[in-house]
Amino acid sequence: MITINTDLLTADGTLNIERIREDFPILHQEVNGKPLVYFDNAATTQKPIQVVEALTAYYLNDNANIHRGIHSLAERATAAYEATRDSVKTFINAKEREEVIFTRGTTEGINLVASTWGLANLKAGDEIVVSAMEHHSNMVPWHMLAQRTKAVVKILPMNDAGELLTEAFDTIITAKTKILACVHVSNALGTINPIKELIAKAHAVGAVALIDGAQAVSHLDIDVQDLDADFYAFSAHKLYGPTGVGVLYGKRAILEAMPPYQGGGEMISEVTYESCTFNELPYKFEAGTPNIADVVALKAAIEYVHSIGKAAIRTYEHELLDYAVSKLKDIEGIRLIGTAKDKVSVQSFVFSDIHHQDLAIILDKEGVAIRTGHHCTQPLMGRLGVTGTSRASFAFYNTKEEIDQFIAAIYKAIKLFR
């Protein structure tokens, strides 16, 4: 049984940061003699003790292979695994639990759709629409599919602030479009895309819509029915949960019509030497023994986030973002990358005279962890005319004091380099 703390919020509904930080022991360490400042949350978030305990408790008490064993441990393990499915269903407001498929992560979810739905439905000349700010995970599977089917990948353009050009939607999304694959929140820019509008545009031309929600789930309320998304993929590890687990949501009718992804145990109904029939949803897409323990622990992560509440998280994270931006924009020679009006707590930036790798090395010496490079978005970097950026991404356990340490570290780096 997982206990969720009820004192993560103060009486006035704001975050009790000190109390929250107690749940993240990893944050209380020194790096290179300085207090750790972890601003690489868009790459992966830290895990609260509740998630680690759920993982440990599963292995200490309940470990068994799921679904087939007729013994108590197998029943407990199965119940815990399937309880996470129910938890995810509620978390994203799926209509049915069978629409929630466990994967290894966002990347696998997108590859699953490209390999199964894509190969079954695309032919030469059909068009796949992605945005200019896709992560390679939502670009490469479609390129691979296009190479196999002779379909064409089209790009939704964006402006210099990192916002998709809504006026271009109707010229790019046309009767030739078979699938729209778009990122909900950009990992490199923080932009929140108008995906509800995009999904409606896709549906209007008879296309399906897949949303890469990797960067969205920890910040935004996700309602797949309200969005009317056909597919929605995300990873547990960016949601304060374990690595190696992701979710692919798909509408039942579409999933039913899709061929299976991988063959093996669990996904079959009957197998003879000559042939086989496939299991029903969601098991049809969960071949082999899944990552049971991490799926079980994902439930604790969802409950943790839920116990603070996304609205309170967003308010606080925006305070952090505004504070950081107000300090960053005063630094001489800085160019902020990703200045969309609608953003999550991610800020990229570049200096014309300081290489991002150099900056990251000095920041690490000062205890500050940021991400530098192309963020697996090489086409986007090309569009922005940079080889890479420095990116600070904030989570609900970060503080303004940490931002001060981060800014001081940048000034120290500048002194060294200029």
């Binding site: 290489h355 790798q357 150099d358 120290k412 380099f417």
Partner: protein, 141 residues
């Protein structure tokens, strides 16, 4: 000319003067700034040691049994580290380069740059320089 190990020992001694990490880095940054870049015509794909974050170009010449290196990077700390490697290895006999042990990197506290994730760490630069030396050796045999 001093041997590879004599030069390494000298660098270790020099770095011993620095009390703080930022003094070490200021020195490396200075080395990077002072290292002459390589000619644009050598900045081609085949001379790149490719990393996820920054680029390193490395070329070499062989004369009288010795290997002369030139290198550059678009990141200044990496360029400073390249300068140190050139200081130690450039102009040395191919045979000595091939069997050299770059122990100074650990001794000056730069070991974190040996295996920087998916990046052109020092280890791949040293490996590349040794490959050059071995290639020249095999040509002359």
């Amino acid at each position: 000319m001093a041997t590879i190990n004599e030069i390494q020992d000298q660098i270790v001694e020099d770095f011993g003067l620095f009390d703080e990490w930022d003094e070490k880095y200021a020195y490396i940054i200075d080395l990077g700034k002072k290292l002459p870049g390589i000619d644009a015509k050598y900045k081609v794909e085949e001379n790149i040691i490719k990393g996820c974050q920054s680029l390193v170009w490395m070329t070499s010449n062989y004369k009288d049994g010795k290997v002369y290196f030139e290198g550059e990077s678009d990141a200044i700390i990496v360029k400073g580290l390249v300068a140190l490697l050139l200081k130690v290895l450039s102009g040395q006999p191919a045979e000595d380069i091939a069997k050299s042990d770059m122990y100074f990197i650990n001794k000056i506290g730069m070991e974190q740059h040996l295996s920087m994730t998916r990046s052109n760490g020092l280890a791949s630069m040293v490996k590349q320089m040794k490959m050059h030396a071995i290639a020249y050796q095999s040509k002359t045999v």
